[in-house]
């Protein structure tokens, strides 16, 4: 890996702590994601994977530590030695650099597939609606749903909904795509169609961070695998290192259960 990568999408997470009430979910997480790489976060339920992902685009504010995208702090502005919390408007603008795909899709049910994809580029980025619509149709075609542009989410299967959600995230042309268990809410036979779309994306060189339980997908698509347990990064490395030759006891125990 070269020392300086000028592509956008470098994510740095440093010493991130996060508590919900008295319960600390993240105990100082450090993570660096290189531009254009695919990072898969594995770990048992409750290990803090989703919270970490949501902290990266500031859906959760962290208690300690910081997150940066391409050297720019997420959620704060630095003036001298002081960090100022960003105004909501600036925060929303910063969020457009991240695409987020939810476990439960969270499509807007009263809007059609096309309107779901078009909404944010027009209202958040102020782009021309006609132009965005043309792009949105291309994106829907790319996820295999060219003929579903006029359908409402409830008229689509779970797999189709998640693919619309991916198109919606892509429409913002984000520097980083975050996937929060994108296939966990799907029937087994629909998982494949979503994973294949994500795998295709992985090949295009978009920076991606994927929280998932799909070990096969991790092995195939990931550049790095990060294993988390009880709010800490326990182990990380290439798929071969982590999946085939885990060093930590917790990793071994987890893999023994899921493989």
């Amino acid at each position: 890996m070269t020392a300086v990568d000028t592509r956008p999408g470098r994510v740095e997470v440093h010493g991130v702590h996060k508590s919900f009430g008295a319960h600390e979910v993240l105990h100082g997480v450090d993570l660096v994601v290189e531009p254009g790489s695919v990072t898969v976060i594995l770990g048992p339920s409750g290990s803090g994977k989703s919270t970490l992902l949501r902290s990266i685009n500031h859906l959760e504010t962290v208690d300690r530590g910081y997150v940066a995208l391409d050297g720019e702090l997420v959620g704060y502005r630095r003036r001298g030695d002081v960090l100022h919390e960003l105004k909501e408007r600036d925060l929303l603008r910063q969020r457009t650099r991240f695409g987020f795909v939810f476990q439960s899709f969270n499509l807007f049910p009263h809007l059609t597939a096309l309107e779901n994809v078009v909404e944010a580029p027009v209202s958040a980025q102020g782009r021309n609606r006609r132009e965005v619509e043309a792009e949105a149709r291309e994106l829907l075609a790319r996820v295999g749903l060219a003929d579903k542009a006029g359908a409402h989410p409830r008229q689509l299967s779970g797999g189709q909904q998640q693919r619309v959600a991916i198109a919606r995230a892509l429409a913002m042309k984000p520097a980083v795509l975050l996937f929060d268990e994108p296939t966990s809410a799907l029937d087994p036979e629909l998982v494949g169609e979503v994973l294949s779309v994500i795998t295709d994306l992985a090949r295009t060189g978009t920076t991606m961070i994927v929280v998932t339980h799909e070990i096969g997908f991790a092995r195939q698509a990931a550049d790095r695998i990060v294993f988390m347990d009880s709010g800490r990064v326990v182990e990380q490395g290439t798929p071969a290192q982590v999946l085939d030759d885990p060093q930590h006891e917790r990793t071994k125990a987890f893999l023994a259960k899921v493989l």
Partner: protein, 325 residues
């Protein structure tokens, strides 16, 4: 399972061609008969009892002063509903705000205006001039730019609008709040993660979905308002009920006049109910896979289904599928 052997389906099955006798429901028949007799009795008494004085009812139904009263009732209801829901939405947003003061004020408002009887509030507003002779527009605790006589600003109509509107706002606030809370948290998160501006999140994402919960209750409130406006007769404001009471005070034809008012209230409520159907249908887009049919579509569907039953397609009973789409 020796009954069902492996003969091909086309061969005559042992159950093929048997006659089906529908289950009988004697209880249902008896109840229907009783209700039919009761209905006939009601109709008979309405027609034959001369004290209903249908001639008087008919004569007054379209009378100018009555129509003016109806118009006043409509005006009061519409203005109050708009004012109530506008203020109610503000109160609901305050209640959901992060600021403890805004939350407390919203809560306090709802508490006070729901606690004091409407009739009392109306009289209070009407007598506001006793408390404050003039109302000033200016800088708080500073100079005033303009001053108005309270009496000229808040007349009967003004007091009625204020009283009904502010009272309605307290109820509307809760309805709007319930609507906003009914929208899945994931929708807020999705909107935020896409960077959609705050205002747009409310108007485009949250409120349209909240409307599904809000509309049925809100229409209930509007219907309640139509009838509730009759309470402003205490201010001697010429809406439907006051007009009617003035007329029967003069003519002593109490019952026919009450029937006139009742008929108009039913008409108004019916119109609102029809509007409700279409508004609900509009906001159901996306929430249901197929929209419910409009009455016209349903009528057409029933007609075709009825025709199909009259002229059954030549074939066995199994072809007569009663399910219509």
């Amino acid at each position: 399972m020796t009954l069902l052997d492996n003969r091909p389906a086309t061969a005559s099955h042992p159950y093929e061609g048997l006659r089906v006798v529908k289950a009988r429901h004697p209880g249902r028949w008896a109840a229907t008969a009783v209700v039919a007799v009761l209905l006939a009795m009601v109709a008979n008494s309405l027609i034959t009892n001369p004290r209903w004085e249908w001639g008087v009812v008919w004569a007054y139904l379209g009378e100018v002063s009555i129509v003016e009263g109806v118009w006043m009732t409509i005006k009061l209801t519409l203005i109050t509903a708009v004012l109530g829901f506008a203020l109610g939405t503000v109160l609901a947003l305050m209640r959901l705000s992060q600021s403890p003061l805004l939350r407390a004020v919203s809560w306090g408002y709802t508490w006070v205006f729901r606690s004091v009887p409407l009739i009392l509030q109306l009289l209070l507003w009407y007598n506001l001039a006793y408390l404050y002779q003039t109302l000033d527009v200016g800088i708080p605790f500073g100079p005033s730019f303009a001053s108005f006589e309270t009496l000229s600003l808040i007349d009967k109509f003004g007091a009625a609008i204020l009283g009904l509107g502010l009272h309605q706002a307290a109820y509307s606030a809760e309805i709007v709040r319930a609507g906003i809370l009914s929208v899945d948290q994931g929708q807020h998160e999705a909107a935020a993660s896409l960077g959609i501006p705050r205002r747009r999140q409310s108007t485009r994402i949250v409120l349209p979905q909240a409307m599904r919960t809000i509309v049925p209750t809100a229409v209930n409130e509007v219907i309640g308002l139509f009838k509730g406006t009759s309470i402003v007769y205490v201010l001697a404001l010429g809406e439907l009920f006051y007009t009617v009471s003035v007329i029967y005070g003069r003519t002593q034809r109490v019952l026919p006049m009450l029937v006139v008012a009742a008929i108009w209230y039913v008409v108004l409520t019916t119109v609102v109910t029809v509007i409700q159907f279409y508004v609900e249908r509009y906001y159901a887009r996306g929430a249901v896979r197929t929209l419910p049919p409009t009455p016209l579509q349903r009528l057409r569907g029933n007609l075709t289904a009825g025709l199909a039953r009259v002229r059954p397609t030549s074939g066995s009973t199994s072809d007569r599928d009663p399910v219509t789409r």
